[in-house]
C-alpha cells in the first residue's frame, strides 16, 4: 500500500490507520524537533501539534512526495512558528538533564546540536534529516522543496562547517578554558 492509499484510510477514519499514522511518525518527528528545539517538553508538544496538523490537512497530501517528507515539512513550519514566537521575548533557561546513556555521549550529542545552530537553516535541515533521521536524498529534496543537487551541496558544506565548529569547541573544552553547558 502506498502513502496515498494509507492517507485515504486515515482520512476515512480507519482506527488502525490512525494509530499507525501516529506510530509511524512519532519517533522521528520527536527526535527531529528535539534537536531543533533543545527541549524535551517543547519537542513533545510540537510533535503532537504537527501530527494533529498533518492529520487535519491530510486531504491536501497529493502523493508527490513520501508521506514522511510531507509530515516533516509540516513539523518544520511548526518549529519556525514556535521559534518566531519565542524570539519575541525571553527564553526559558531550563537546563537539560542528561540521560543515563553516558555523560560523554550526551555531551557529544549536545555539542553537535549546538554546533548545528551555527549552520544555515538549509544546511541544518539537510544534515538532521539525512544523518540523524536517515532520510534518503529524494525525501529530503521533497521535504525541503529543493533539488537533490542542492541537498548534496548542503550536506557537504554542513559537515565541513560542523567539523570546524567542533574543532574549536573540543579544544576549548579539553583545555578547560570554557565550561561546557548546553545552551
Amino acid at each position: 500500500m502506498d502513502d496515498l492509499e494509507f492517507a485515504e484510510r486515515v482520512l476515512r477514519g480507519d482506527r488502525d490507520a490512525n494509530a499507525e499514522f501516529v506510530e509511524r511518525h512519532y519517533a522521528t518527528l520527536f527526535r527531529y524537533l528535539r534537536v531543533l528545539t533543545g527541549h524535551d517538553q517543547d519537542a513533545e508538544d510540537l510533535t503532537l501539534e504537527s501530527l494533529a496538523k498533518a492529520r487535519t490537512h491530510l486531504a491536501s497530501f497529493r502523493g508527490g512526495s513520501s508521506l514522511r517528507s510531507w509530515v516533516h515539512s509540516i513539523a518544520f513550519r511548526r518549529f519556525l512558528r514556535w521559534r518566531r514566537i519565542r524570539k519575541l521575548s525571553f527564553r526559558l533557561t531550563g537546563r537539560e538533564s542528561y540521560l543515563p546513556t553516558g555523560f560523554a555521549d550526551a555531551e557529544h550529542g549536545e555539542m553537535l546540536r549546538i554546533a548545528l545552530q551555527q549552520l544555515s537553516e538549509g544546511q541544518r535541515q539537510a544534515f538532521i534529516l539525512h544523518e540523524i533521521l536517515e532520510f534518503d536524498l529524494p525525501e529530503i529534496a521533497a521535504a525541503l522543496k529543493t533539488p537533490i543537487g542542492t541537498v548534496k551541496s548542503r550536506l557537504f558544506h554542513a559537515r565541513s562547517h560542523l567539523r570546524a565548529a567542533l574543532t574549536t569547541k573540543t579544544e576549548e573544552t579539553a583545555h578547560g578554558t570554557q565550561a561546557f553547558e548546553p545552551k
Binding site: A27, L92, T93, A104, L112
Partner: protein, 433 residues
C-alpha cells in the same frame, strides 16, 4: 570533564549516534485535537499583594485622594521626588503583635527591586520569600523557595505600582484631617510629625474602616523618615526610609543561573490562541460544556475557562474540583463582609453583589471562568481530572458537574499574574482604536 573524542569527525559521529537513539516518550494512543502546552512557569501578584494589602494597602487601595495637600506634606513630597535612589524597609504586624510581613524596596527612578521575607507567624498560610524587580518596564518575579521565576512586560512606570508607594500613602490618606507638629524628637533627630487620619469610611464590603497614619520627616530636608499606620482591628505597618548612595547591584535583576524563567507574554499569546480549539466537551443537563483552557500554577491556583454554560452566580458556594486534591474548607459564608485578600478564601467571598459575572466575549466565543485555590496541595500531577460546576440561569446550585478527564493543564508559576495581569482578564477583547 575531558571529552572522550578529540577528533571532530568522531564527535560528529558520536553525536549522530546519540540523537539517532535518543529516547522517545511513549506514543500517545489517541492523537488529541488540541495539544495542551507543557510550559512550566511561576505566580506573583497574589503572593505578595496578599500580605501587603492585608497590612498596608487596605486604606490606600480603598480610600479617596485628598483635594489638596497641606503645605508641609507638599514640601515632603517635593523633597522625596528629588531623591532618585532610596530604600524602604517595611514590617507589618497583626493585632496580636505578630509579624506578618517584612520587605525591603530599593527604588531608582521608575525602577525598583522589592525583596519580601516570609512571614514568621501570624498568618494561616506561609508567605514565600520573593524578589520582584521592575526594570525598564519588565517585571521579574523570583520565588527562591519554588525555584522558578517569571517575567513579563508591563505598561507601568513611574510608581511602585502598589500601595506602599510613599506618594500613594501621602495622597490617599489624611482625608479625615491632617495635623502637623514641629519641634519633635525622634531618635535624637529633629523631626516634624504629621498625623493623617482617614475615615471612618465603608470599604467595598460595606465594613467601616479607618486608618491612623503618623509620618515623620526630617526637620531640615523634609525627607520622610518613617510612616507608621494603624488599621484598627487589623494590624500595623511601619515603613522606614533610608537614602544611601546608589548601588546598581541592588536594582539589577539577579535570578540565579539555572532557574527557569517563565515568559508570561508568550504564554498568554499561546493560551489565547489555543483557547479557540476545544480541549474536550461534556454534556450536562442538556448543555454542551466545552473546556477551552486549564491553567495551574506552583502555588495551587487553578483556573478553567469554559464555554456553553451560564455565568456563575455570585452567591454560589461550589467551586471546581480536581480528583485527588483536597479542597480547603470555606471559613466564611458567601456574602461575608470579611475581606480576605489571601487568594485562598477570596474566591469564596466574591458575593459583594448579587449579580452574575458576565462571560468574556473572546473572538466571538463567550468564556466563563472558574477558579479554585488548593493552597496546601501545591504539587499537581501532570494530567488532571477536573469537575466544573455547570450553572443554570437561575439559582445558585449547580445543575451538574462537567467532568474532563486526563487534561494536561498549562503549567505556570502564577495563574493570577498570567491570566489577570494588572487585574485585567487576558480574554477581554481590547477596544478597537
Amino acid at each position: 570533564m575531558e571529552p572522550k573524542h578529540s577528533n571532530p569527525n568522531e564527535t560528529i559521529e558520536s553525536g549522530i549516534a546519540y540523537w539517532r537513539t535518543y529516547p522517545v516518550p511513549p506514543v500517545p494512543t489517541v492523537l488529541p485535537n488540541h495539544s495542551a502546552p507543557a510550559r512550566r512557569s511561576s505566580i506573583l501578584i497574589l503572593r505578595w499583594s496578599a500580605p501587603v494589602l492585608a497590612c498596608v494597602a487596605v486604606g490606600a487601595a480603598l480610600l479617596w485622594p485628598t483635594n489638596s495637600l497641606a503645605t508641609g506634606l507638599a514640601r515632603t513630597l517635593s523633597a522625596f521626588d528629588a531623591i532618585k535612589f532610596h530604600k524602604q524597609h517595611q514590617v507589618c504586624t497583626n493585632e496580636l503583635g505578630q509579624q506578618t510581613l517584612m520587605s525591603d524596596i530599593w527604588t531608582y527612578g521608575a525602577d525598583y527591586h522589592m525583596r519580601t521575607s516570609g512571614a514568621s507567624n501570624g498568618l494561616p498560610y506561609p508567605i514565600a520569600p520573593q524578589d520582584l524587580w521592575l526594570v525598564h518596564g519588565v517585571l521579574t518575579n523570583y520565588l527562591p523557595k519554588n525555584g522558578y521565576a517569571s517575567r513579563h512586560r508591563i505598561n507601568r512606570t513611574g510608581t511602585l505600582g502598589f500601595s506602599i508607594d510613599f506618594k500613594t500613602i501621602i495622597k490617599t490618606n489624611g482625608h479625615g484631617g491632617v495635623k502637623e507638629y514641629d519641634n519633635q524628637k525622634w531618635h535624637d533627630q529633629s523631626v516634624i510629625r504629621f498625623a493623617l487620619n482617614t475615615g471612618p469610611f465603608k470599604d467595598g464590603a460595606g465594613v467601616t474602616q479607618s486608618v491612623n497614619t503618623t509620618l515623620l520627616v526630617d526637620a531640615k530636608s523634609y525627607l520622610p523618615l518613617e510612616v507608621f499606620s494603624h488599621f484598627p482591628g487589623q494590624g500595623t505597618s511601619v515603613i522606614d526610609f533610608e537614602y544611601p548612595q546608589f548601588d546598581p547591584r541592588l536594582i539589577a535583576v539577579n535570578v540565579p543561573d539555572g532557574v527557569p524563567i517563565y515568559d508570561l507574554d508568550v504564554q498568554r499569546e499561546e493560551i489565547k490562541e489555543r483557547s479557540m480549539t476545544p480541549i474536550s466537551t461534556a454534556h450536562v443537563a442538556g448543555r454542551t460544556i466545552t473546556l477551552r483552557t486549564l491553567v495551574v500554577d506552583h502555588s495551587g491556583v487553578l483556573a478553567a475557562w469554559i464555554s456553553g454554560g451560564a455565568p456563575r452566580p455570585s452567591t454560589a458556594r461550589e467551586l471546581l474540583r480536581v480528583d485527588g486534591l483536597t479542597l480547603l474548607e470555606p471559613t466564611e459564608e458567601p456574602g461575608s463582609p470579611t475581606w480576605d485578600s489571601s487568594g485562598i478564601h477570596g474566591t469564596r467571598q466574591r458575593a459583594w453583589s448579587t449579580s452574575r459575572e458576565a462571560p468574556e466575549m473572546f473572538r466571538g466565543v463567550p468564556l466563563i471562568k472558574e477558579t479554585q485555590s488548593f493552597a496546601r496541595d501545591t504539587t499537581f500531577p501532570p494530567r488532571l481530572t477536573v469537575r466544573i460546576p455547570v450553572w443554570g440561569n437561575e439559582g445558585d446550585k449547580p445543575l451538574g458537574w462537567a467532568i474532563f478527564k486526563n487534561v494536561k493543564p498549562t503549567l505556570t508559576g502564577s495563574t493570577p499574574e498570567l491570566m489577570w495581569p494588572m487585574n485585567r482578564d487576558i480574554f477581554i477583547t481590547p477596544p478597537r482604536p
